[in-house]
């Protein structure tokens, strides 16, 4: 076992709060889990050296950090500063039907309910998910009552000052026929380490619109997860935008626990320098008549490294499943690396399932068309390559967010082009 994990375990032992039973469970599992090596399938292409060497530590003193402003976005801001919920940044009045509370502030009865739900969706196999169970500083519970459509998006930001370590946890429940949009992002000043996990319970006929912006770069180490449990006739639309850092890893689990669930996941990676981003996306079709559409597109330059593992598991009872996984990658330099692995496991017979992983080739016809309009070949290829990512930005349901992120991505892409 690594020193880092040993220290995490001993720190976990010292926390005595309402979550103690869950922390103990996690610690027990962690104690018997070997530290991943290159032979560990889930970490095959992603080294944990950055975690082992991290000097980041929990910072107790209160720091004032504000989330980066998103032009034209009016969101309910849920801000963690170095792992602690900054209550002052929460609005005084929340929209009707929405509640946000700190786990430790709940009454006994509410806590026992929260305890029962805690880590119920996130699978136990995620090592850092267990670390988060054991070390979560503040656990925030978000609830949308049945039938409420919350128009304002909820933005969950995790802010870290230089050298900080944080473990944030949010449990989101969407009641029946409700609607909520959630934006998750991490902003860090350097040499930081965070685990940020969110579990989503999406009740019958509810709709979740979800975004995760993993734009932290450099020496900011981040390992996190988004885990979705979807009940009958519910739906979700998720967009992940990631730059890389010394280590940036995200695990998502989309679980079709009810029938007629519709799930969409679009992920964009844009990596440069020595950056790494690793997405492990698992979809469990446990029930019939579900649909999943997954689009993952990576552009990698420099000596960066993209890892994508897309697993779709169609259980025996999940008849009439429609699942599609599409992964397209673009290597800008041959020193960059893309490791991609689609895994389809199908145990039902009446399903339609497709996957494709391709290196994006510039579409010759499109190139010709642009050239006939006077645009030179080099510029036309750039436009098409950017278009390849932009297509997924166009699919973001919230246009305020797409208009905000588009120029950010464009700038990063232009910088990649120059080299």
């Amino acid at each position: 076992m690594s020193e880092w994990l040993e220290s995490a375990i001993s720190r976990g032992h010292q926390i005595d709060d309402w979550l103690a039973p869950k922390r103990t469970q996690a610690i027990d599992l962690l104690s018997t889990t070997p530290w991943p090596t290159r032979k560990t399938e889930a970490w095959r292409y992603t080294s944990l050296r950055a975690v082992q060497n991290s000097k980041a530590h929990e910072i107790e003193t209160k720091t004032n950090l504000l989330p980066e402003h998103i032009t034209n976005l009016s969101a309910i801001e849920l801000v963690f500063v170095n792992g602690k919920l900054d209550k002052q940044q929460l609005p005084d009045v929340l929209p009707k039907g929405l509640s946000i509370s700190l786990g430790s502030d709940l009454n006994k009865e509410q806590q026992s309910q929260a305890l029962a739900n805690f880590s119920d969706i996130k699978p136990k196999r995620h090592l850092f998910g267990l670390v988060n169970d054991a070390l979560a500083q503040d656990v925030v519970i978000v609830n949308v009552e049945d039938g409420f459509n919350i128009k304002q998006p909820l933005r969950i930001s995790s802010l870290l000052s230089l050298g900080a370590e944080s473990h944030t946890r949010v449990q989101v429940t969407l009641g029946k026929e409700s609607h909520l949009a959630v934006i998750e992002d991490v902003q860090a000043e350097g040499d930081s380490l965070c685990t940020a996990f969110v579990e989503y319970q999406v009740s019958a006929k509810a709709h979740l619109e979800h975004y995760r912006f993993a734009l932290q770069t450099g020496s900011n180490v981040a390992v996190g997860g988004c885990h979705f449990n979807l009940l009958d006739h519910s739906s979700m639309h998720s967009t992940i935008v990631a730059f890389g850092s010394d280590l940036s890893r995200l695990d998502t689990d989309i679980i079709h626990s009810g029938e007629f669930v519709d799930a969409k996941l679009n992920a964009i990676y844009l990596l440069d320098g020595n950056e790494l981003f690793d997405l492990h996306a698992t979809v469990e079709h446990a029930m019939p008549n579900g649909t999943t559409e997954e689009n993952v597109r990576c552009i990698v330059a420099g000596r960066s490294k993209a890892v994508f593992n897309g697993r779709i598991h169609i259980h025996r009872d999940a008849q009439k499943t429609l699942a599609e996984l599409n992964n397209r990658n673009l290597l800008m330099t041959n020193t960059a690396e893309i490791n991609t692995k689609p895994e389809l496991e199908i145990y039902a017979d009446d399903v339609r399932c497709a996957h494709g992983a391709t290196s994006a080739q510039v579409d010759k016809q499109a190139l010709y068309y642009l050239q006939t309009r006077g645009i030179d070949r080099a510029k036309a290829s750039v436009m098409l390559n950017f278009g390849f990512i932009n297509e997924l930005i166009d699919l973001m349901p919230n246009t305020v967010l797409s208009e905000w992120i588009r120029p950010i991505i464009r700038n990063r892409f232009s910088a990649m082009e120059v080299k």
Binding site: A366, L370, G374, G387
Partner: protein
């Protein structure tokens, strides 16, 4: 007229794709300001001619010459041809998801301006011009934000081609069946678009199957293209003749004899 310099001169052109000869001895001379209509049966090589002139990959010229505005067109890159003032409105415009129409128009207008030693257009000026062009071809403004031709209907794609023509102000516009798939109103719109652009220093090649369009756009010449070459040329009345007779007279191979006789 006769001493005016030609804008486009095609001499004895033989060209094709993948060893298949499609253009077989094509001759055409276009002076500035002229409108030429090209008609002819399916598969005659009309679109191929446009591809060859635009420089599309895979289209090989075996022999012959093409001079455009005094330059050897066949030696130029695709984009150089465009920047020199050649514009091809496609029979089947390409969809490019992810690249917005407006972004595309800006890149295109800027490329042509750069070739003429002009500065890039400001975004606000481009938007102004693009809005005016949209209005002229009756394309809702929302189409500027969409991906290039992405999910456009057949007719909308054609309007989008015309809009580009309006913005780029080329010297030679080749319209490949821009009238196909258009409703009657749209047909008049295409005609208006073309007529508004007619000028002493702009020429047109209009490929069409329908005499109808030529009621609105009076061509100076009408040519019949069959099996890779022009088999008959005349004035606007030839289109009317074709409308009533069809192309049956082309059959049996002995084309020249039939026309003369």
């Amino acid at each position: 007229m006769s001493n005016t310099k030609s804008l486009l001169t095609i001499k004895d052109l033989y060209a094709g794709i993948e060893e298949k000869q499609i253009i077989k001895g094509f001759n055409l001379d276009i002076k500035p300001g002229e409108v030429h209509a090209i008609m002819g049966p399916n598969g005659a090589g009309k679109s191929t001619m446009g591809y060859v002139l635009s420089g599309r990959d895979g289209y090989e010229v075996e022999s012959g010459s093409v001079t455009f505005n005094g330059q050897n067109l066949l030696e130029m890159e695709i984009e150089e041809r465009a920047n020199a003032g050649l514009f091809l409105a496609f029979q089947y415009p390409v969809e490019i998801p992810g690249v917005s129409n407006l972004e595309f128009l800006k890149a295109s207008v800027d490329a042509v301006r750069a070739a003429n030693g002009e500065e890039a257009i400001s975004s606000s000026e481009l938007l102004k011009q693009a809005k005016a062009a949209c209005k002229q071809v009756d394309l809702p403004l929302a189409f500027l934000k969409r991906g290039v031709n992405e999910g456009f209907s057949g007719g909308e794609k054609k309007r989008n081609e015309l809009m580009q023509m309006l913005l780029l102000k080329p010297k030679l516009c080749i319209l490949d069946e821009t009238d196909s798939g258009l409703d009657i109103d749209a047909l008049q719109l295409v005609a208006k678009g073309v007529n508004s652009q007619r000028s002493e220093d702009r020429s047109f090649i209009i490929v069409t199957h329908y005499q109808r369009l030529l009621d609105y756009i009076k061509p100076d010449f009408v040519h019949v293209l069959a099996d890779g070459k022009i088999v008959k040329s005349g004035d606007a009345s030839l289109a009317l003749e074709l409308e009533s007779q069809g192309y049956a007279w082309l059959e049996n191979g002995n084309v020249e004899a039939k026309i003369e006789g």
